[in-house]
């Protein structure tokens, strides 16, 4: 299936886009998604980024489904 991954902060600079279209297997875990991304964008591996699904922090074993909104969340620095 095809998903959109929203990018923010340094992940936007690394990938060079605001969002990324990605083909993944349905039900893939967050951990697998990160591995797949890091194969293509090795630089990501250097940063301790989180993944959000539907605007909430997801765990490594959370599964990603078709209609989910996925985002990469690099270390935050608000305030």
């Amino acid at each position: 299936m095809q998903i959109q991954v929203l990018l923010f902060g340094i992940t936007r600079d690394i990938i060079g886009e605001n969002k990324l279209s990605l083909t993944i297997s349905s039900g893939i875990t967050v951990k697998k998604l990160k591995q797949q991304l890091e194969l293509q964008y090795a630089e990501l591996n250097k940063y301790n980024y989180s993944v959000a699904i539907n605007e909430a922090y997801a765990e490594n074993d959370t599964e990603i489904n078709n209609s989910d909104t996925v985002a990469l969340i690099p270390p935050v620095s608000g305030g």
Binding site: L6, F8, G9, I10, D13, K46, Y47, A52, E55, A56, Y57, A71, I73, P74, P75, V76, S77, G78, G79
Partner: protein, 141 residues
């Protein structure tokens, strides 16, 4: 937004009076305010400006979670959490937390909890601009 909380992300200038007016209440014995300001240097390097960006939809949800938890865990009446977005110059205000409570201890504690948690969980990022370059804060390999 619940009746007792106000969370906001804006590209406009933050308004201290608006936060104060939101939390003010006749049953309160005090109001604690935290105002973040852009300082002119980081580790001896001169900063020219900070550029804030957010994942707004999620950031608002995380800010609301903080407001809800503060209202639940501390004996406070109202809380406002406002954050600015975009380019801010030295002395500008990126964040305001206002908390009203019957007694000062809870107001101080809830205010500290809110700013500390915001810095850990809310998806907002700042890029520091220097005379000779720029860097995403906290994103060091």
């Amino acid at each position: 937004m619940t009746e007792n909380s106000s969370v906001k992300i804006t590209t406009s200038r933050l308004n201290l009076q608006e936060c104060y007016d939101f939390v003010e209440d006749t049953s309160c014995g005090g109001i604690a305010l935290f105002v973040g300001t852009v300082r002119n240097q980081t580790q001896d390097k001169e900063v020219t400006l900070l550029d804030f960006s957010s994942y707004e939809a999620m950031a608002l949800k995380e800010m609301q979670k903080i407001a809800d938890k503060a209202l639940n865990d501390f004996d406070i009446l109202k809380i406002a959490i406002h954050h600015a977005e975009g380019k801010l110059t030295i002395g500008a205000i990126p964040v305001i937390i206002a908390v009203s409570a019957p007694h000062r201890k809870a107001a101080f504690e809830a205010c500290q909890f809110a700013i500390d948690t915001l810095k850990e969980t809310v998806p907002i990022w700042k890029k520091e601009h220097f005379v000779d370059g720029e860097v995403w804060v906290n994103a060091t390999p």
